[in-house]
Amino acid sequence: MDEMTNREKKTLWENLLSIDRRIIFIFIAIAISLPLFFKTSLKMPVSPVVQGVYNAIESLPAGSKVLISFDFDPGSMPELQPMAESFFRHCFRNNLKVIIMGLWPQGPIQANIALDKVFRELKEEEKAVKVPQYGIDYVNLGFTAGNEVVIDRMGHDFQESYPADARGTPLSEIPLMQGVRNYDNVDLIINLSAGYPGTQEWVQYAVDVFHVKLVAGNTAVQAPSMYPYVQTGQLTGVLGGMKGGAEYELALNRPAKAVSYMFSQAVAHVVICLFIIIGNIAFFTMRKRKT
């Protein structure tokens, strides 16, 4: 009888070790999908690196000029688009002037998508607040080719890389761009980056050469490589992946997409951890029995 029970147990552990990967996929899909239906906001503390981003923007007086470089494409939307929307909300709430650009061709288009959403919210939620006006409160310079060379040239003169904005209007005819020649005339640079060219190039060619103040929003894959820049003071703050975006939304006191996504993220991580624990128990149990 004991031998039979032992054989049954052995079969269970063996089954666990050779579990079909598709079963794991189903568990992950359920873990990701179900929480999306619950409007649950996880409580999480705002980390110092995220607080650094918030403080850098919050400390700017109204009318300050902020350059936001959109260096990502739709492939990184779930992580970076909520950050982009939060940056716009923060800047417009504080009456900052926003200059948009992109080192990735799709970047400025992502900016327009985020702007549309934020303007819609402004119209719906706060009817008294005026919607920012193009050319006065914000401008989209569009994309220009050249990667880090663009960053370097803009340090001398914006017009070398951007003679006109995305609509073809010469910079000299745009009210917001009056008095803006190079980084000396910009109070803060924000970079949303998903790879090359991105935050590393902004640090190398703008921060360390022209001594500008830079904060960044990065995909989680990139984030560990950016934290050393914060420690050395080259970056004032970083939003690392979806969690960084969620913390920033909480710092702004305006939970949005990133916060709602974090519940799915947390449940998925718990399921992954459970699979790792079960797999390890099965592995060590089987090894013990074999020896």
């Binding site: 999306l36 239906f37 992580e79 061709p105 190398q204 360390d208 992946g241 799915s264």
Partner: protein, 219 residues
């Protein structure tokens, strides 16, 4: 049915097509994959032509040509011909007999990138990081900062020792190398954790698209 709804439906069906590979390889997945690769190639060709070739090469040379014909002056925009020349050399890869000429362009690209990157990378990712690790081990009245500084200094020192292979990893030296390995493993673990979070974020984005934008089950 307007264009936006059609777009959402196409996006949802193609997303399911790509996800179907998780069950097993199938024609629906192959179709979605081929469509994605084809559209990407076409998209990048158009972007390269209109964002790189036209504004950087064609427009600049047109200006020079206009200046030459109208005013009889040779302006500096003719310098873009050098870039055009190297571009043509790259295309010579399509002609096997003289394909070796494309190496000139590649040599120019590699040389320029190396020259640009050398000083910038050395300062930003080398010197500034070294300076960042030179910290006081004890900060009066701030236990947390002192602890953090000790971790940075010990971690950097032991990590470097692990990569020093001119001396056998034995005794105190070996112990320090083992501590270095622990720091490296923790670093790799953190990077892996962040990568998992990133990939989960992409999956969350797709699921949200399917349930919210397509099926309208989430508001």
């Amino acid at each position: 049915m307007n264009g936006e709804i059609i777009g959402v439906w196409i996006g949802a069906i193609l997303t399911l097509g790509i996800f179907s590979f998780l069950y097993k390889d199938n024609p629906f997945y192959k179709f979605s994959e081929a469509l994605f690769v084809g559209i990407s190639a076409g998209y990048w060709f158009v972007v390269t032509f209109w964002q790189y070739f036209i504004p950087k090469f064609w427009d600049n040379l047109s200006l020079s040509f206009h200046e030459l014909v109208v005013n009889g002056r040779i302006d500096y925009h003719w310098i873009y011909l050098i870039g055009g020349f190297f571009g043509v050399l790259m295309l010579l890869r399509l002609v096997p007999k003289i394909g070796w000429l494309s190496r000139w362009s590649l040599a120019f690209i590699v040389g320029t990138t190396a020259g640009l990157q050398f000083t910038r990378y050395l300062e930003s990712n080398g010197i500034r990081q070294v300076v960042g690790t030179i910290k006081p081990l004890v900060v009066g009245g701030n236990l947390g900062t002192s602890f953090g500084n000790i971790i940075i200094v010990v971690g950097t020192f032991c990590g470097l020792i692990y990569f020093f292979f001119s001396k056998e990893h034995k005794g105190a030296f070996g112990g320090a190398a083992r501590v270095g390995v622990w720091f490296l493993m923790i670093n790799f673990g953190a990077m892996f954790g962040y990568t998992v979070m990133s990939r989960m974020s992409l999956l969350i984005g797709r699921m949200d698209y399917l349930f919210a934008d397509w099926l309208k089950l989430i508001k």
